[in-house]
């Protein structure tokens, strides 16, 4: 019964949203390129299901590998910066400077580095975009510890490494997961935009640009839909991981 009550609002929102969209287009009948109705997009998905499936796998691979590499690099850099002052003084300004570069604008340049049709350049864009929020949030969580908890550990004669393990890392977990949830949708956006400029021709980004170029807008929207579902799935996975790795965080909190 409770489960049903939880599910009802999002289902209602979907019904009202898609129904309203369909109805509005049926009433106003704009040109097809403005916005196709959901029924037409569903038709395009069914018609191109194999192409969409392949493209979702190709783009999904780039998103997942890029996300993993970006997260690993971000966490590693955050730990380095926390443990060593020199690392902090050199890495942090560097990371800030790199972040100031509009990363997706680098996609054509990455193509020149890795080859126009190589997925490597797309992965590089994803890694570069994911790295920063993970790095900044995680290092914040590693540093932002209640001072008396550090003094307590020092009073027990605990080493710097033991303090990182016992206090700083658990303290950083909520910060990390906030960044990870952000990074999932960023990774999908980064991969698709990077694909506009190069990489494999059977990826979602290319389906979008090619279909739009051929005025097959429903096909383009079908690929956008696949990208959104991928983003939602990855976000859901991040929420699931957050729940199982730190159950203590959700005690006494109504979420």
């Amino acid at each position: 019964m409770n489960r049903l009550r939880e599910l009802l609002p999002p289902v209602m929102a979907a019904v009202i949203g898609f129904g309203g969209w369909e109805l509005l287009l049926w009433l106003t009948r704009p040109d097809g390129f403005v916005l196709p109705p959901p029924s037409e997009i569903a038709g395009a998905v069914a018609e191109n299901s194999t192409a969409i499936q392949t493209a979702t796998k190709v783009t999904g691979f780039i998103v997942v590998t890029g996300l993993l590499a970006g997260v690993l690099l971000g966490v590693a850099a955050a730990l380095l910066v926390t443990a060593f002052r020199t690392a902090n003084e050199t890495l942090t300004p560097l990371a800030v400077a790199v972040n100031a570069i509009p990363i997706v604008a680098l996609a054509p340049i990455f193509n020149a580095w890795f080859g126009l049709l190589s997925p490597r350049s797309n992965q590089a864009v994803v890694v570069a975009l994911v790295f920063f929020p993970i790095f900044i949030n995680t290092s914040r969580g590693l540093v932002d510890v209640e001072p008396s908890q550090i003094e307590l550990m020092e009073s027990y004669g605990a080493s710097k490494w033991r303090i990182i393990r016992e206090v700083r890392i658990p303290n950083a977990m909520p910060f990390f997961f906030t960044a990870l949830k952000l990074a999932t949708s960023l990774a999908v956006i980064a991969a698709i935009v990077a694909e506009y400029f190069g990489g494999r021709q059977d990826a979602l980004g290319n389906i979008i640009t090619n279909s739009a170029g051929l005025t097959r807008y429903a096909d383009a929207w079908a690929a956008v839909l696949a990208g959104s579902l991928m983003g939602i799935a990855l976000y859901g996975l991040a929420v699931f991981l957050e729940r199982i790795t730190m159950p203590w965080y959700f005690l006494g909190r109504r979420t």
Binding site: E151, G157, E166, V167, W248, L251, R253
Partner: protein, 261 residues
């Protein structure tokens, strides 16, 4: 067991300057001498800025003195820290949310490399001592402020240190909980024969708890007086005795004398 009763803490000619030679140089403590005998309950009391917390941190070796020596159990304070001769309790309980109550109490034991079975046995004993047996599996976010502070005391006492350093541990609690915690602390102190150094800014708390009250004055931090505090009985009933009120006035008088006019 040591044969001769050496003082638990010896503070000799200790001076502490923060930001030496800097623009905001502060003389926090000026030439402090103080001995704490084993089994004593000594409170440090004074207005903010008198250096009472700094003095406690010097004993804990969390701060280094500019001049002078601090000996704990006859060793340098830093050696005593590494040997785990003392334990500390802060104003904020500082429990780790990611550990349940038992595992919070077992933290120092884990750091000392105790076996799991020994740790569990000891944490059960400590929960008994602070009367929180049913809360072993609870997490800190499920505890009230007073309960959290009792867990912090259990954690501090878990490895039976000879010396307990407490920095305004009840400062954030309401009056009722505070008095209850004071009674509990006195009971634990008499049961365990621990030496306690306790920082507070409450006169009644200092008089109720301690065998000696060290009154400090600010800018620079100095010891204004050391008052022997005899109350006869050491339980809740002492709060209403004429002796208690007399000692409260005595401490207040010294504190007032130290105030800048």
């Amino acid at each position: 067991m040591t044969s001769q009763p050496a003082p638990a803490v010896e503070i000799r000619g200790v001076t502490k300057v923060f930001n030496p030679a800097g623009a905001n140089e502060v003389l926090a403590l000026d030439n402090i001498d103080l001995n704490v005998a084993a089994g004593d309950f000594v409170t440090l009391i004074g207005p903010s800025g008198c250096g009472k917390s700094t003095l406690l941190r010097l004993v804990a070796a969390l701060v280094e003195s500019t001049e002078g020596n601090v000996l704990v159990n006859g060793k340098t304070a830093d050696q005593a820290r590494l040997d785990r001769d003392y334990s500390m309790v802060f104003q904020r309980a500082g429990l780790f949310d990611w550990r349940n109550v038992s595992r919070n109490i077992e933290l120092p034991l884990e750091l000392m490399g105790w076996k799991a079975a020994d740790r569990h046995r000891r944490s059960a004993e400590m929960l008994e001592l602070v009367k929180l047996n049913e809360f072993a599996d609870h997490h800190p976010s499920e505890l009230s402020g007073g309960m959290a502070q009792r867990v912090a005391i259990a954690r501090a006492m878990s490895f039976r240190p000879a010396l307990l350093l407490m920095d305004e541990p009840f400062g954030a609690l309401d009056e009722m909980t505070r008095e209850h915690m004071q009674n509990e602390l006195l009971r634990i102190w008499s049961e365990t024969e621990t030496t306690v150094i306790f920082v507070t800014h409450s006169i009644s708390e200092a008089v109720f708890l301690s065998t000696r009250v060290v009154v400090m004055s600010p800018r620079p931090g100095r010891i204004a007086a050391v008052i022997d505090n005899e109350l006869g009985t050491r339980d809740d009933s002492a709060r209403d005795t004429p002796q208690f009120f007399a000692n409260v006035s005595a401490v207040r008088k010294v504190l007032r004398a130290g105030e800048p006019r």
